[in-house]
């Protein structure tokens, strides 16, 4: 069995466990459909971050020979970090939710760090959370 299959199985097993473990609590406190709404909201936010990132990357670009793709996003409160691959390179874009729109604070090749995030206006505690979550893949 390939590593990819193992990962898929692992994700599946953990998802089932999560549902089994968390369902009684969730059911006890909130209506079942709210869980779905929260998940949907997170998914929507991620999609919006991805779209805002791609829009930014391609805004002033004419005739690119390859298209970028966002490989992962991390969102903490109103800040987001999008990691992308574009041809032979990869980079990261930092965004802030302003007036219900994701606005790019900075974007470029390579990897940001917490200090970079802070220098572009991200509060220090959120910057740390973004970096930690991005590193853990959460």
């Amino acid at each position: 069995m390939s590593l990819k299959h193992y990962r898929l199985w692992t994700i599946l097993v953990f998802t089932i466990l999560l549902v089994v473990i968390s369902s009684p609590t969730v059911n006890a406190i909130t209506p079942p459909n709210q869980t779905i709404q929260i998940a949907q909201a997170v998914e929507d936010a991620s999609e919006l971050v991805i779209q805002a990132t791609l829009d930014y990357l391609l805004a002033d670009v004419t005739e690119p020979t390859q298209q970028p793709s966002v490989t992962r996003t991390t969102i903490v409160e109103t800040y987001a970090l999008a990691t992308w691959q574009w041809g032979e390179t990869g980079g990261q874009t930092v965004l802030e939710l302003t007036n219900e729109n994701w606005q790019v604070l900075v974007s470029g090749g390579g990897a940001v760090d917490a200090a970079t995030l802070v220098s572009f206006g991200v509060p220090a505690d959120i910057a740390e959370q973004l970096m930690a979550q991005d590193a853990s893949g959460d």
Binding site: E88, G109, G110, A111, V112
Partner: protein, 743 residues
């Protein structure tokens, strides 16, 4: 020629994705016995262990491979490349029978051997070795041989029996063809150029009726002089399979850490993160999710608790270039304590007995033009050392490169060997031409341009032709061009051979026939002469410095070495055949001319274009580091473009750029804030820094005008992407920005 090659490469890639490699389940193989690998005891950092005794190990004495396998390349690919990429191996074969010279082009550098040195190392009498035993002879044409072996063209046909036989048997009956035994080969090739295409392989089994020594000089030129040398199996070079690994041009050594086998764990183990195993592409800290048979190590603090996962159960990303797609782009996880020659893989792990076996895996490479890269290490397992709990195993350096890193792209041993054989550095794989032409200072502050002008004042012009002379070693030829480099030098010959008609021209020179200035212009252009000159003078300057010379005396001594060779006696009285100048007077005259050239401006006209000392240091650093692994950079190399550029700067002794040295916008902000100056492309020189219009990528210029840029490749996790200044248009048509570092 290039277009069909590219088209075929593309087709090849498509076919590869479908997968033509068949790896016959080596994972099912167990190493059931101790193969008696010779070892030697060492004590490192108060730890005693047994490491391989490379003085006792050869390709022939390595245990036989345990698994069958086949790699079948498309025949059209092989035809275009003139190189058979396909490979078949069967359990029980030894490595010399299925591995080729080309597989080790950038690891052991076997191509630097000549037959004589191999024979000396293995007590082989070449007079008793059949010509047919040298596999590559079968595909050498007469033109190839004349190019590979300086002076061969001067031999009479009758003095080279295999060639005499080839000519008489293949051309008998051809109207007007009536060679005499006392005709020289060069004369014949001059009169009948089509004969140059005759191939020694046409002699078939008759090759075995001749000895290696029946072709004069065949045993003294490096293997890389021969056409398509990389296509020969190791066993196809007499004696090579018996050369100990510690006697190779780039010998295998053992360095790094010894780790004590603390506990051997079977495949029931899961989720291991603290590993030291992986690959050049995936890094050497690849986690294992399931079936994590492994060895847990202890001894030194750096190794305590580290896990070396079994490659029998875990595969990782491997390979590079187009060939990297072979075997699904996968190879067993492991380490490289002995460098790129082979991968060491932990194989069987027996919890009940606390024992572990290891195995070697090899790969297929095709370097040169076109460079197809290397397959993953998937040819194995070849049984290697076995260990039990509490014994020590060699894990190499914990360097992020699997155990045997080297900052220099060309090992010192290789450079020394190449120099002894007269092989130019630029002819070696991994070398980056400096792109400075004659601009800039060399070692010891020597102004190349002024030095070139000084030599020119003595020797001649770019189209000068010297008299036909022979040296004391029997080498005959002419001095060619501005620096009067002799036509029998291997670097001169390989350069000329690259020109269309170059082989025939060399034969003409060897024969002593008159050569015109126009022919020099055509076959040995000024750029080629300057390229050889600069490499040559770098060596001469280094020798003179080692002898203690500096300033004006340094120039004099460089002149003496140029005039009389590396063994020239200091201030000696010897002169050349013309008797005009002695070693001493040549040096004095050179110094006088050099000072005149300096006073008239020397290389100052270059200063604006070369960008100065920082650029040269950066570019020098690129040459030293080569196409280095960036998998230890951010995100396993995926986000390592700025990191990689700053590594090149750090290696050059330059302070990294950027408050965040891993992020392009931060690096560019630093450049704009005073660390650099933005320049135009016409001003750009090697070592300048290039940033994509989107700030999405960063690289370093490799030549004047910056039409070539090297940068990190995420997909390969390596500083190896060579592109144009706009990164092949990946980021659109926007113009990249170029910066020159100021401090």
């Amino acid at each position: 020629m290039l277009t069909p090659i590219l088209r075929t490469v593309r087709n090849f890639l498509i076919i590869l994705v479908v997968s033509l490699a068949v790896w016959l389940l080596p994972g099912a193989i167990s190493i059931a016995q101790d193969y008696g690998i010779p070892t030697v005891g060492v004590t490192w950092e108060n730890q005693y262990g047994q490491i391989p005794d490379w003085s006792q190990l050869t390709f022939r004495t390595l245990p036989p491979i345990l698994s069958d396998g086949v790699f079948e390349a498309p025949s059209e690919m092989n035809d275009v490349l003139n190189y058979d990429l396909s490979r078949v191996w069967q359990a029980g074969q030894t490595a010399d029978t299925y591995l080729k010279l080309g597989d080790f082009q950038t690891s052991l550098y076997l191509q630097l051997f000549n037959l004589y040195s191999v024979a000396q190392l293995t007590q082989l009498d070449l007079e008793q070795v059949a010509l047919g035993a040298l596999e590559m002879v079968a595909w050498q044409s007469l033109d190839d041989l004349v190019t590979a072996i300086p002076g061969l063209g001067n031999f009479e046909i009758g003095a080279v029996p295999p060639i005499q036989e080839l000519l008489s048997s293949r051309w008998t009956g051809t109207p007007g063809f009536n060679p005499q035994a006392n005709d020289t080969i060069a004369e014949l090739l001059g009169e009948y150029p089509e004969l140059g295409q005759l191939n020694l392989g046409d002699l078939g089994d008759q090759l075995n009726s001749f000895a290696i020594t029946d072709i004069p000089g065949l045993d003294t030129v490096p293997l890389q002089n021969f056409a398509d040398w990389g296509n020969s199996t190791l066993g196809g070079v007499p004696g090579l399979a018996d050369v100990p690994f510690d006697q190779m041009p780039n010998p295998i050594g053992s360095v790094g850490l010894l780790g004590q086998v603390d506990v051997a764990y079977g495949p029931a183990e899961q989720s291991r993160q603290n590993t030291i195993s992986g690959s050049y592409q995936a890094g050497f800290n690849v986690a294992c999710e399931t079936d994590c048979a492994h060895v847990e190590l202890t001894a030194s603090p750096a190794l305590h608790g580290k896990q070396w996962i079994s490659g029998k159960y875990q595969e990782v990303r491997g390979g590079e270039g187009i060939l990297g797609q072979v075997n699904g782009g996968k190879e067993p996880t492991g380490r490289h304590p002995f460098g790129k020659v082979a991968k060491v893989v932990v194989w069987d792990v027996d919890e009940s007995t606390g024992t572990v076996s290891t195995a070697l895996f090899f790969r297929i490479c095709k370097r040169g033009i076109p460079d197809l890269g290397c397959t993953p290490y998937f040819i194995g397992p070849v049984p290697f050392l076995s260990y039990s709990e509490t014994t020590m195993m060699l894990v190499g350096l914990l360097d992020g490169q699997g155990g045997s890193s080297s900052s220099a792209s060309l090992p010192t041993e290789v450079l020394d060997q190449a120099r002894q054989l007269g092989i130019p550095t630029e002819a070696l794989p991994g070398f980056i031409s400096d792109g400075f032409d004659l601009c800039g200072d060399g070692p010891g502050g020597v102004d190349y341009s002024a030095l070139a002008a000084a030599f020119s004042s003595i020797e001649g012009h770019y189209d000068s032709v010297g008299a036909y002379v022979c040296d004391g070693d029997g080498n005959c030829g002419r001095g060619l061009g501005r620096y009067q480099y002799m036509s029998y030098r291997s670097d001169v010959r390989s350069t000329i051979r690259q020109q269309s008609g170059g082989a025939a021209f060399l034969a003409k020179v060897d024969s002593g026939s008159a050569i015109s200035n126009a022919e020099i212009d055509r076959f040995f252009p000024s750029t080629s002469q300057d390229g050889i000159f600069k490499q040559d003078q770098n060596r001469n300057i280094a020798q003179a410095q080692q002898e203690g010379f500096s300033g004006g005396r340094l120039i004099e001594r460089v002149g003496q070495i140029h005039f009389g060779g590396p063994g020239a006696k200091i201030d000696g009285g010897s002169s050349d055949v013309h008797g005009r100048l002695t070693l001493k007077s040549y040096g004095e005259k050179l110094l006088q001319s050099y000072e005149t050239a300096l006073a008239s401006g020397g290389g100052k006209h270059c200063a604006k274009q070369t960008g100065g000392d920082l650029n040269q240091r950066i570019f020098q650093s690129m040459g030293e580091m080569g196409r280095f692994d960036s998998s230890s950079g951010p995100d396993g190399g995926n986000l390592a473009c700025a990191w990689a550029v700053n590594r090149v700067l750090a290696n050059a002794g330059i302070q990294p750029v950027g408050a965040n040295t891993n992020y392009v916008p931060s690096v560019e902000a630093d450049l704009q804030a005073g660390r650099g100056t933005q320049i135009s492309q016409s001003q750009a020189a090697p070592g300048d820094i290039v940033i994509a219009s989107t700030a999405g990528h960063i690289g370093i210029c490799m030549n004047q005008g910056c039409t070539q840029v090297r940068s990190n490749s995420s997909s390969r996790a390596r500083f190896t992407w060579d592109s144009d200044i706009n990164f092949a248009g990946v980021y659109g048509a926007g113009q990249s920005r170029i910066y020159r570092l100021k401090n």
